[in-house]
């Protein structure tokens, strides 16, 4: 079964670069990657917070948050 990977972003330039370079580099035979734009899917901000996400872009892998560079704090997306 594939491990779930969720890439949270907000459309910022730092986010876009991380998405293009990073989210696409995962091994798709092992990871099911979902890309979530928190600017448009505001109902998922709480979900991201529960994983420990503090800023975007961030990738949640196996339930653990990994912040990639820094685009915007989660608080700016509420």
């Amino acid at each position: 079964m594939k491990v779930k990977a969720i890439f949270y972003h907000a459309g910022c330039p730092v986010c876009v670069e991380a998405e293009q370079q990073f989210a696409t580099s995962l091994d798709s035979s092992r990871y099911a990657v979902e890309i979530v734009h928190l600017g448009t899917a505001k109902n998922r901000v709480t979900e991201a917070e529960k994983f420990g996400v503090k800023s975007v872009p961030a990738l949640v892998l196996g339930g653990r948050p990994f912040h990639i560079n820094f685009g915007a704090p989660l608080s700016a997306l509420k």
Copy 2:
């Protein structure tokens, strides 16, 4: 040809987690991943700086730096 990916770390707990969860998740058919411990390979700190790495753990993908969470500043490894 595979894209070169360099994962820089310093053996810190944040680094180890990022290495185990992250560096191993890249698609090995597309990326040649090298793992560099800057605490022991101090001669490579300058190389990391040239890529724009400011802290570890960091992954350089296609020449661009991506800082993953925060373990230690590069300045602490000189």
